[in-house]
């Protein structure tokens, strides 16, 4: 892994908690690495396995998923459904050589701007440590 490796990270967040937390991090000017790209969804329960697979196959080095804390889900339990599915996807991508650490699920509440910043920073660090995936220099398949 080279020092100038700048990972590209897809962050899938729910509109109600983690996206709001990201906005809060913004309004509070809490800086974090520029490697992350946020995609806004209404709920983590909306995250299709295809999204995660596509992210990795199109060259993302990590996928971070942020949702509401259990019990706070705007849609009652979408976050818990998501957790169950994502564990399965993690298992699958792991079989194909993607370190399970590259797919992280965290609960970040609407008021947790600092937590968002911290999570982004930590995740980027951990992905840098892992280095690029071997998809990186391939054309999409």
């Amino acid at each position: 892994m080279t020092d100038d490796f700048e990972p590209k990270i897809i962050v899938l967040v729910c509109n109600w908690c983690t996206y709001t937390a990201a906005d809060l991090a913004g309004t509070s000017r809490l800086a974090y690495p520029a490697n992350i790209r946020i995609i806004r969804l209404m709920c983590t329960g909306m995250i299709d396995s295809k999204y995660i697979l596509k992210a990795f196959l199109d060259g993302a080095d990590g996928v971070f998923i942020g949702g509401c804390h259990p019990g706070d889900c705007h849609y009652i339990n979408g976050n818990l459904k998501a957790k169950k599915r994502i564990s399965g996807i993690r298992k699958i991508v792991e079989q194909f050589g993607f370190d399970p650490k590259r797919l992280r699920l965290r609960w970040i509440g609407a008021s947790e701007g600092p937590e968002f910043q911290q999570n982004m920073t930590e995740f980027v660090e951990s992905i840098k440590a892992l280095g690029p995936t071997s998809v990186k220099d391939r054309m999409i398949l």
């Binding site: 897809i10 913004g26 969804l41 396995s49 199109d58 706070d72 705007h74 008021s111």
Partner: protein, 664 residues
């Protein structure tokens, strides 16, 4: 593309210097210009301003744009603004997409180059996505012309009255036997010192007698479902064991009830009540309730029935069962209020061990004409205190308990000081961290109290002990603190200590929040939609907040917010209709294999199975658009409009394929 070929206009906002100071807007514009389907890319100082919106309007009309992307702040801030602008210019509002390059780039990225590159990615993503947007039409559905208010304190009462005045039906639900809440316990109110009862009791009566208000005391909301304008609520009426229609409120039952010695909640356990009781003389409704834990018949099934014997109206009904009431409302106002901080954990203040250490609420009762001492400020031994210490910020501004300022303690503490000076000849010492008196006539009141000879010591009290320095002072309390202004340690001998406890969210308010689907912040207060621009609304349409459930407030602020909530709710109702959500699920009958997995994951039972066609069907009135069904459906028959696989995956692909940074 099944639809008209996209013609996209991209607009990059400087947001004054907020974006432009970090992001090289020009290069983003240049980049955007090269993207597929982009017909025009422009920049402007403030896109949200009317010239900014005009720019979009012109381009749509002149260049015939059919898609618009604005790269500026968070969609939570201005998405609606721009959607409206698009609609005004004649294209479907869903042909709009926003790239958040302020909160997500300029404000959180140190290196301008990286910030610019990130902005480009976000713009590319928005452009790629918007190309696949579809026009969505919403349906207008009628709004139920009634309002549910949860909580019968001053906030709930005021909301109910204001709403009822504008002619709408209001259901006011209060879990206690009487409305009134905390304010009913107060004697005077700061800073004007007008008597709480004098302004409270008429309001309570007004609520009770208003033809548009259905008062549901001793009741709780058990479930709320539906959506803005059309909520269905189930309300539990706990059995009073007294027939409200028959009861005359004469009170004989309470005199005769043999089960006495039950600490009175209303009097902060300073007095006792009977098993059949009405919390306080001015309670509304007057109808008492029987405490099932204490009643000899109900709790211990002994033979008693004294109340039944003495009730001439024959109103006692020990057979009464819980009743459930189903109501339909267009809006809900949450006004669940607060609870006072319990100082027991701060053992160094000796609350619970020393009889003469009181919480502020206890003192309110002690000082109240309807209280245990009928308004005379007396110690447990019947004497008037000679020296009283008031300790501020108990539980508040304390990292171990509540880090926030409870806003009202300074003022009510000084009110106490004033009342003590007025009613007794006691010397009053206040120990504070800072005096916070921001409010009309508040600072003046602070000055007045100082002039009345109240001693104010800046310093947090270390300990309250009953060990005096001199033998002869046993039985009195010693307050140990440092006067941080004179830098002197102080050991003050007093007769009475008042702990100015802070405010916490009311018992069970988290449950209510979940009931209506809104979130609470770290301290448990309910979160409003926007701290400044929408302090009364919540992220859930049709749910509004009033009073302390949203954060500590004094009475004036509470009443103001209560009226605001009523205003918001009534304006929603008077509009008459709401448009259904457009961003909801659909199920393509041609693809649906009828496996009904979606039915099982839907948290809103918004999907039915059409056995005839053997496919699942979405009920667009119930669907909230969470997408659980779309994920559960392998064939992609189910999907969420405006969050289709195509749209999300194109957005993602643009980021990963068109990537600008890190390929350098």
């Amino acid at each position: 593309m099944k639809y008209k070929k996209p013609k996209i206009g991209v607009y990059i906002c400087h947001c004054g210097m907020n974006i432009a100071s970090k992001v090289d807007v020009e290069s983003v514009v240049e980049f955007a210009g090269k993207l597929d389907h982009v017909a025009v890319a422009r920049e402007y100082k403030f896109m949200c301003s009317s010239p900014g919106q005009q720019m979009i309007d012109n381009d749509i009309k002149k260049l015939g744009l059919n898609r618009v992307v604005v790269a500026s702040c968070s969609p939570r801030m201005h998405e609606l603004t721009f959607k409206k602008a698009c609609e005004k210019a004649g294209i479907n509002p869903h042909y709009f997409q926003m790239a958040n390059i302020r909160e997500q780039s300029s404000w959180v990225t140190r290196d301008p180059e990286e910030a610019t590159a990130k902005a480009k990615d976000l713009v590319a993503a928005a452009v790629a996505r918007v190309a696949f947007h579809r026009p969505l039409q919403s349906r207008e559905v009628a709004v139920k012309k009634s309002i549910l208010v949860i909580g019968g304190g001053i906030a709930g009462m005021q909301s109910a009255l204001s709403a009822a005045e504008s002619g709408y039906r209001v259901y006011l639900v209060e879990r206690e036997p009487s409305i009134g809440g905390h304010m009913a316990k107060f004697d005077k109110t700061f800073p004007t010192l007008d008597c709480a009862a004098c302004i409270m009791t008429p309001k309570m009566v007004a609520v009770d007698q208003h033809e548009n208000i259905e008062l549901l005391t001793y009741s709780e909301v058990v479930s709320i479902e539906g959506f803005i304008g059309n909520f269905k609520a189930k309300i539990l009426k706990k059995p009073r064991y007294v027939n409200e229609d028959k009861c005359t409120g004469c009170g004989v039952c309470m005199e005769k009830c043999p089960a006495r010695k039950i600490p009175s909640e209303f009097n902060e356990r300073l007095t006792t009540r009977t098993a059949i009781y009405s919390p306080f003389p001015q309670a509304v409704p007057r109808t008492p309730v029987i405490d099932p834990e204490q009643c000899r018949v109900l709790a211990k099934n002994k033979r008693c029935g004294v109340c039944r014997k003495f009730c001439e109206a024959g109103a006692i009904d020990l057979e009464q069962k819980p009743r459930y009431l189903d109501i339909e409302v267009g809006a809900v106002i949450v006004a669940t209020g607060f609870k006072a901080f319990d100082p027991t954990p701060l053992t160094n203040y000796g609350y619970g061990r020393f009889p003469e250490v009181y919480t502020s609420l206890e003192f309110e009762r002690l000082n109240n004409a309807t209280g245990p001492t009928s308004g005379k400020i007396l110690m447990k031994n019947g004497q008037a205190p000679k020296k009283v210490a008031i300790i501020h910020c108990v539980g508040s501004r304390d990292v171990r308990y509540r880090k926030y300022c409870s806003r009202v303690c300074c003022m009510y503490s000084m009110k106490f000081a004033h009342l003590l000076r007025e009613k007794t000849d006691a010397e009053v010492w206040e120990f504070y961290i800072d005096i916070r008196s921001p409010g009309k006539l508040y600072e003046e009141f602070y000055n007045r109290v100082q002039e009345e000879g109240v001693h104010l010591v800046r310093g947090r009290v270390a300990e309250v002990t009953d060990i005096p320095d001199n033998q002869e002072d046993f039985g009195r309390l010693t307050v140990i603190a440092e006067n941080t202004l004179t830098r002197q340690a102080k050991r003050l001998l007093v007769d009475m200590v008042i702990l100015s406890v802070g405010l916490e969210p009311a018992e069970g308010s988290k449950d209510v929040a979940r009931l209506v689907g809104i979130s609470t912040d770290g301290d448990g207060w309910m979160t409003e939609l926007h701290a400044k621009l929408a302090p009364v609304a919540t992220p859930v349409g049709g749910i509004f907040l009033a009073g302390c459930c949203q954060g500590p407030k004094d009475i004036p602020d509470t009443v103001a917010q209560a009226m605001a909530a009523a205003g918001e709710a009534t304006s929603l109702l008077s509009k008459g209709t709401v448009s259904t959500k457009t961003e909801i699920s659909y199920i393509d009958p041609d693809l649906c294999a009828g496996c009904q997995t979606c039915l099982q994951v839907c948290a809103y039972s918004a999907i039915q199975f059409d056995a005839g066609r053997c496919v699942s069907v979405v009920n667009d009135a119930l669907c909230q658009g969470c997408g659980s069904c779309s994920v559960a459906c392998p064939s992609g028959a189910a999907g969420v409009k405006h969050f289709t696989d195509k749209q999300v995956m194109e957005e993602m692909e643009a980021i990963l394929i068109q990537e600008c940074i890190y390929d350098r």
